[in-house]
Amino acid sequence: MKLERRYLAIPYVIFLVVFVVLPLIVVTYYAFTNGEGQPTISNFVTFFTNARTIGTFLYSLFVAVVTTLVCLLLAYPAAYILAKGYFAGKGGMLLLVVMPMWINFTLRLTALKELLDMIEGNLAMYPFLNTIIGQTYDFLPFMILPIYNSLTRMDHSLLEAAEDLGAGKASVLIKVMLPLSMPGIISGVTMVFLPSMTNYVVLDMLYNSTFIMGSLIGSYFSSYDWHNGSMVAATLLLLIVLITYIAEGGSSASGERRG
């Protein structure tokens, strides 16, 4: 009897193997071959010796670090206030904060672009600032929600116990609350960090001429350069595996979703 039920997973498994695993294998194959199908490391060499690609890689790392930090600084107090502070138990407020996740991100960015246009006059003048504003605007709810979840799950009496035992407000925060909410922070960071390296539509829509890693794939795609494009995709893939591996210690990235 048990035999029959587990066979239901077969279509799902075949689907994942054919359309998730196989594409990644083919991308890796394309990354290390040339137009004639001969194995080569020239795409690899091009990627790691070209000033433009390496510059883009480093710039997008920098952008991702800054965006993640800004999101974290805005999101942590917000998540705390919603979970344990003045708005605790008022579910409507949390809903209001995470609702932008369900609105099409290109339409939201159109709105942001029009507003920034009015404030700044010429968007092209502040490419870095606009990248950070745009990405924070897009990804902030994805940082708030996991931190909120880990804070609500936290046992409140632990904080009280720390205070009763003589810990000051700062040490309660640093020694008790931060470590206990670490799974939420890690999960939020992974959900913001990666898209900030790859979501180039945010930059495109704000009339940005700067490049991040995703833009490289986009431009190779437009010029039908599958082999160099695959090299960038494979590099990103490696980075994703690395980030997931590091993050695995504390969090489970499930259910919630980045933009």
């Binding site: 003045y86 708005f87 579910g91 932008p100 507003l115 980030i243 990235a253």
Partner: protein, 262 residues
């Protein structure tokens, strides 16, 4: 003091998230083509939105595509969850690891790799819409799985056995006992899949037929182009979708809290 700061911080976050949408919504009801310039009230943008065939086709196409993708993903993902739940622990964690790939992967990489496999490697024709539907299902199916699995774990394991003892065949027990238990998970999985594909830009743009556009790809092209009429009609679309989402979220919250009360 503490209370004031808490309110101040949340208001700040809400202003940041909603001010652009609100300003755009107000301007969608004017004849103005730029935010900041003051013009009179006008329904011109809404008229353009509903009378331009190109825009209506694009909106209808986006929703039809999202619906088809959500349907396929829900079936595949639910079957996967039920099958994996009754598999050996090792098999189940292998399946879960596979499913994690599209969840943690960057959408650019997912879209590009599906494009490389189907269109470049197998030479599939983009105009069949098959690469597009497959690409979006790759993204959505694991999320359905993740929504259905908790329903199965929370289920009383003896229900199924009891049904068999009382004379159900295995397939009857599956449909009459297990299916009703996982339906809430399937519904929220379906809705997640729907919002994911409505929101997607990258997978769509790497796998779609050249002439087909979803809201996301259309909006991105429109911001690059100079067609002012279309651009401001999109403000109207944005406002309408925002209102729809607010209504859906409020309704779901009301029914959701009622279910928790039971």
């Amino acid at each position: 003091m503490k209370k004031t700061f808490h309110i101040f911080w949340i208001v700040l976050i809400l202003l940041f998230l909603y001010l652009p949408i609100m300003v755009l919504a107000v301007y969608s009801f004017t004849s103005s083509t730029m935010i900041g310039s003051i013009r009179g009230f006008s329904l011109h943008n809404y008229e353009t939105l509903f009378t331009t065939p190109e825009l209506m086709d694009m909106i209808r196409g986006t929703f039809l595509l999202a619906f088809v993708v959500a349907l396929i993903s829900t079936i595949l993902g639910s079957l996967g969850a039920v099958g994996a739940f009754y598999s050996k622990k090792k098999t189940r964690s292998a399946i879960e690891l596979l499913g994690q790939i599209p969840v943690v992967n960057a959408d650019v990489v997912t879209g590009f790799s599906v494009c490389i496999l189907l269109i470049v490697f197998f030479g599939m024709n983009k105009n069949t819409y098959i690469p597009l539907v497959i690409g979006l299902c790759v993204l959505c199916t694991p999320f359905v799985y993740l929504q259905v699995m908790p329903r199965l774990s929370g289920m009383d394991p003896y229900l199924y056995e009891a049904a068999l003892d009382l004379g159900c065949t295995p397939s009857q027990a599956m449909i009459r006992v297990i299916l009703p238990e996982i339906i809430p998970g399937m519904v929220s999985g379906f809705l997640t899949a729907l919002t994911l594909s409505l929101d997607d830009y990258f997978i769509t743009s790497y796998t779609k037929p050249a002439v087909f556009n979803t809201i996301s790809t259309y909006v991105v092209n429109a911001t690059k182009g100079a067609q002012t009429d279309v651009k401001t009609a999109l403000w109207a679309l944005s406002t309408l979708l925002f209102v729809v989402i607010v209504i859906v979220v409020v309704m779901m919250n009301l029914t959701g809290s009622r279910e928790e009360d039971r």
